[in-house]
Symmetry: C2
Subunit: 373 residues, 2 copies
Amino acid sequence: MNFTINRDLLLQNLNSVSKALSNKVQMPVLTGIKFDVFKDNILITASNGEISIQSKIVNPGQLKVQDEGSFVAPGKYLIDLVRKTEAKDIDFITYEDNSIKILADKSNFTLKGLDKENYPIISFTESPQLITIDATNLKQLIRKTTFAASISEARMILTGVYFQAKDNKMQVVATDSFRLAKKVMEFTSPLQPVEVVIPSKSLEELNKIIDENEEIVEIHFTKTKVLFKYKDLKYQTRLIDGTFPRVDAIIPTQFLTSVKFNKNDLISSIERVSIFTNIDSNIVKFALRADKTVEIASTSNEIGDAKEELNVIDCSSPMQFQIAFSSKYFLEALRSFNSSEVTINFTGEIKPFIITGEYDHNLIQLILPVRAF
Amino acid sequence: MNFTINRDLLLQNLNSVSKALSNKVQMPVLTGIKFDVFKDNILITASNGEISIQSKIVNPGQLKVQDEGSFVAPGKYLIDLVRKTEAKDIDFITYEDNSIKILADKSNFTLKGLDKENYPIISFTESPQLITIDATNLKQLIRKTTFAASISEARMILTGVYFQAKDNKMQVVATDSFRLAKKVMEFTSPLQPVEVVIPSKSLEELNKIIDENEEIVEIHFTKTKVLFKYKDLKYQTRLIDGTFPRVDAIIPTQFLTSVKFNKNDLISSIERVSIFTNIDSNIVKFALRADKTVEIASTSNEIGDAKEELNVIDCSSPMQFQIAFSSKYFLEALRSFNSSEVTINFTGEIKPFIITGEYDHNLIQLILPVRAF
């Protein structure tokens, strides 16, 4: 096996697949990156058992294959080496004993390869049941929902994000049972019906790899896996087994009062007032007065207390109303909006409330209040 | 106690003294910042028992004191609060129960103050035995030496940096017994004789506070402490007790051969070759050949091996010569030079060698090799 490749082209592809590299030693071969070298292209693959990523390098000008073959190189060291070389091109030559010679300018490296016979066969499964979406919209779906998934494995199903395709809508929901994020995307034609739960960590890694652009992403659904095809990249993750809770019933549609704020002013105020809250609970209190003014406040027995008056842009029904909630959940929800103005829609002092934004079509952030009065 | 102060001015001074804030709970009052408010200035002080910093705020246009007094505010929360407010000015009012009211625009904070009676009396001791140096030169002295001090407390004296003033020279030395950094600074007139060992961590924090400029720093030496006076700031640290080893005898002055390199090329090569070395030892091998070419190499049983040819600018005595050393120590030493070319002066294959740079007058970096052949 023997080929020459442009250093930047290789590094870019190594960085993409590295997101799936395992640093666990249970299966040492998964700390490696598999190279399958063909006459006019190279497939590079990494997998940690949960996520598998494969990139196809096809570039006649920047890749010259003298000899076909395959090998598994230790991922971390290979990437470090390629990153640190200043050479324009890098030569790879493999030997019978799995060793890999890497030549870059005046550098001469010999890497001990991993046994390619131990590398698992990974099938990237395409499916007739597929949905296409552009990269920017997929990134939006991920960013506006995944943060609300549970980090506790007590209820495994809640560590995932629910994707449901029905008619011409895709609905994406994440919840840790204290807050909920829901985004619906509309398509011009009916979709294949789908209902799956994707691990939130897999979606976060996917979001790092795909760029903000109009490239098409194909999402292939099978019973246990989902495969995202993006440019020359295949990104596959296992699904979470189980039934995602029905959430539509808990999202209120009728409100006691709705208060509209400048989003950035609201974020700054909450950030300041929550300086004094405890790491564990970070509860802030929100009080609307009959004269439409709003005060937010927090108290910590150890540190002191903070209160702040807030400017309200609009209030649908002025009234005396107070509610308390986690500033962390509230801030994460607020930051998911693109709109410069957001509306907080209340249903009662100890009932869930929702946040909406004028320019964030079909995005709902729901937060459960706490009893603090 | 009641005063109004410009937010940016306060934040800048809080940031300076915060370097001495303690996060240990042995003496809770030291997690606080002491304010001593006078008619036309404020002293703010922080101390962790080892380092004490005091800043004097004098600025008629940006500070208005209505009522004199003193208080101790919890440092971390106060700084967080001042950093997050967007107000131009901040009002402080204190009450009998140690509480501190802080008003900034529409924010209204009440901080529980710490008991000022518990705050230790810190004397910043000036001395007739003082040396003046400009900030840029002091920073150079610190940056080029402290990294070589020991991080192990097995020999406490080596965790410090040796400052010796004699005639018109100040000599600064740090060593962890595996490598040594020495910088001598010449003064136009004779200095008061001084010989002290300053904790390296104290110098690193000092380096963060003083800017690269021509402001004068006064260094006041007493038997157990050293005080740096810089602009309106007093920075005091305890000294390390004991006798610093005599190092001049181990610095070689006669060499077998001297090899000159482009510094950045040498750094890049060592960085690449040391990818394959172990975290613990990171040993690279250096081989000079009779034809003046140089090869550096490393071997790891687990990962593989690396070798690289290096361009030599000059070599005083071409010969067959090999030596092995820690790449970490070597890189840290190389990075302390301003010169674009550095010379490695060898005395023998298992003897210490020194690095010098044409434009780094009076700077010597010494490294002890290891036996690896």
